[in-house]
Subunit: 185 residues, 2 copies
């Protein structure tokens, strides 16, 4: 399995990885139970505090672990984990230990009890910031309290879900930096 | 400029285009004034009704047009419009008519007064579904009430923002459909 050299990443800059819209793996822990789910419905909401909004169906086993523990970790998988990502999304933590089933490594996080998934490119440790939209929309607002990202490559080769089993893989990088107003960079 | 043959698209299936996380153009109209903004902070929230959540900074001129009219159109631009997308994000509708400045064609929508941007690949006509998160998070929840998409190509060549002037272009398509449980497709 691919190994990464990771370092701390500024929480105010995680939009670099989340705004392009990748499928992510959400790890959680409540008491002694851990779980992992795949998630595609998320958005950046604010730079500072570093807020992200995530829709997590209440039928998901992870929903209650996150709601009760008030924490989770959002992990960014690369293409080499695509089959694992799909497998995780097609079984339930009610029935299996997903770290065990998929041979993933749970590493200790810094600020939360939920584990990092070592095989992923980046990790965002999250605490619930606002749960008011949970009842109506299953929408969590998390604050990212700590971030870790691989030093290389600069950008991960992410997978982006289109529904019906189909994905898009992140493609070429283009820059229009010279067309931006300085205050918009 | 590229021309598309478009047809109605099911509103419950727009995740095909939005879940991968592209930069979109939001067109709006209040009374006689129209505007366009670029937006990267959005997420799908529900299939039926077709709900999407969008963070739009209140400093944006479009914020008030959308808030007052309670409507907008979300348009999906392809890579060939990238410079236009960046240009739109780096000027204000307070100062210029963006349709005029960027040579874009405003077409009548079906269910809202905000115009479609004809040069885009797809259009999602939106009405505000819930404005309760506006004051605290500038977060609109829209219902997509009508969708139009190009017949071809099947998937648009979208651009995805990473911040600091840098974008990712949508890459290759991969399918793991045979790894999904039928109920998850």
């Amino acid at each position: 399995m691919k190994k990464y050299n990771k370092k701390d990443f500024p929480v105010s800059e995680i939009r670099r990885f989340l705004e392009p819209g990748p499928i992510v793996l959400v790890s959680s822990k409540y008491k002694e139970e851990t779980n992992i789910m795949t998630m595609g419905w998320h958005t950046v909401l604010e730079f500072t505090p570093s807020l992200i909004g995530c829709m997590i169906t209440s039928a998901n086993h992870s929903f209650n672990l996150i709601k009760k523990s008030k924490e989770c970790v959002i992990n960014i998988p690369e293409l080499h984990l695509a089959e694992t990502v799909v497998g995780i999304g097609n079984c339930s933590g009610r029935d299996v230990d997903k770290f065990d089933k998929f041979g993933l490594t749970a590493e200790d996080a810094t600020m939360v009890k939920a584990p990092l998934i070592a095989e992923c490119y980046a990790h965002f440790e999250c605490k619930i910031h606002d749960a008011k939209m949970l009842n109506k929309y299953n929408f969590f607002i998390f604050e990212v309290v700590k971030a870790h990202a691989a030093v290389s490559p600069k950008y991960p080769e992410t997978i982006h879900y289109r529904g019906e089993g189909h994905f898009m893989v992140s493609g070429k990088a283009v820059s229009y930096r010279n067309k931006f107003l300085p205050q918009n960079l």
